[in-house]
């Protein structure tokens, strides 16, 4: 069979799948230091309602530019932002590779995040798709951009942890 226009090598594909798998494992285990490490220094991390994205409105629910802001978010949720403890759980589909250049790979993935509060039923917390740019670094693949465009515009009270 013919190969896809924007094909990744088997090795690249495997590495990419591991990056996505590790991302989900890390945020769901609340390993925030590791979460930061999965991004490049000048990364963009955004969580934006689909409505704003579709209408070209710039506001995001969470918009972090560069590792410093990611570290500040980690400090914020650990030290200053009072909240109910909860588990989150990501389940994501296969990434769609939209562009491959020498420098970067552009992908998009459908995701679901489930929230479980202590001794309460599990609920659907947030679903949507991502707009990702992955680059290769000395430490392996890293996200230089990760935008979560979410369908779940009516947030069930609050979003404390990065998704």
């Amino acid at each position: 069979m013919v190969s896809h226009m924007t094909a990744l090598s088997p090795t690249e594909w495997f590495a990419m799948m591991q990056l996505y798998a590790e991302y989900d494992a890390v945020v769901d285990a609340a390993h925030w230091e590791r979460w930061v490490q999965l991004f490049t220094d000048d990364c963009i991390y955004r969580v934006q309602p689909r409505e704003n994205f579709d209408r070209g409105l710039p506001l995001a629910t969470l918009s972090l530019e560069g590792k410093g802001m990611l570290l500040d978010r980690v400090f914020g949720i650990r030290e200053t932002l009072f909240h109910d403890p909860y588990y989150q759980r990501h389940v994501t589909g296969p990434p769609l590779v939209t562009k491959v250049t020498a420098e970067a790979i552009e992908l998009s993935v459908n995701y679901s995040v489930f929230r479980t509060k202590l001794s309460q039923p599990t609920t659907v917390f947030n679903v949507g798709r991502t707009i990702d740019v992955v680059v290769n670094t000395a430490n392996g693949l890293r996200f230089s951009r990760r935008e979560f465009i979410y369908d779940s515009e009516l947030i069930p009270n609050s979003m404390i942890y990065p998704i």
């Binding site: 409505e51 209408r55 506001l59 802001m69 932002l81 009270n157």
Partner: protein, 423 residues
Amino acid sequence: MEQSTNSGNRALPSWPGDDSHLIPFDVYTNDQVHSLELERFFYNKHWCYVGLEAEVPNPGDFKRTSIGERSVIMVKDKSGQICVVENICAHRGMRFCRERSGNTTSFTCPYHQWNYSLQGDLRGVPMRKGVTSADGVVQGGMPPEFDVADHGLNRLTVACRGGVVFASFDSSVEPLDQFLGPEIVPWFDRLFNGRTLHLLGYNRQRIPGNWKLMQENIKDPYHPGLLHTWFVTFGLWRADNKSMLRMDRHGRHAAMISTRGNAGVGGDVAKVQSFKRGMELHDERIIDIVPEAWWGEPSVVMTTVFPSVIFQQQVNSVSTRQIIPCGSGNFDFVWTHFGFDDDSEEMTERRLRQANLFGPAGYVSADDGEVIEFSQQSFDSKPAGTSLALLGGTDVGDTEHMVTETLIRGMYRYWRTVMDAAP
């Protein structure tokens, strides 16, 4: 416990004492109370927020929203006037408009294609005159006495001020400026001084608590320096900041006004300040505050307009926060962030960065939703409980400081007056 006063309405909770510093949990959980609140606060005698003119810039632009639990449509008609109609078809009652916003020349209900003008007048009724059969007999249709003039959409009274649109189901509602009162109008006009607003986007959250808790939260200057430790950690809050509390003569609306000061640090302030003192942000851009001419002295003004909206100016971040109740135990909280047409690109970027402090994920807002949820949990579990709002005493009045719950007492004093009134 003090003697309790029976209220006029049987459904209503009985308050301990005559003032409002002891709040029965019941006011947050009782469904009959909630229905009466909708009638008396959202559907009668009050103006409710529906949106910004900037959301419907062109003729035919509409936006769907809610007043209380009723669906309404704000639309700009061909003459450029803003109309608000209830989203209920006059035929068999369907909530016909489904989009959240759009542009249209008229409203058509899909069930039987009744057609309405943007002002809500009934224009078209298919087969109104029946159909003519093969043998020329007219069959069915509306009876002759049927007059389209009697069957338009329910049209609300509308008031626009400084680009903000309010509406009321009550045509006899007092004028908007009287409703806001001379004490609040200046603070409203400070923010909405006639400039064209520039829409930045929305955040929406459903908070599992009674809607009044959000009004309380923004009428509560006691909590920011204590709950929002992020403020304190990064030196954005000092209990001795110059500040004032203002309310309208009913005690229903309020403005919390504060200015960053450099006054000597009192003991309590120190205690708060010392909290995680000396932390520094890795990236200071999020608090890169640049004063704006229109501020005047204050750097933060939070205006609560009862029952439906809060106007936020927190340094460079400005937004409206709409309250849409959803039963006694939930409300939707809709944030509309905006800027001004003359904002530089840098200022727009600044407003967007500072928006990280607010909304469902905000450093100093996400926790407000949390405490509201946890308060409601207590109220649900203990019908006989009461909440204590005693800081600054039991009376109601303006202050030149933040160490008081007087605005909360003011709101409930007003609440008792309106709810106790004879039907």
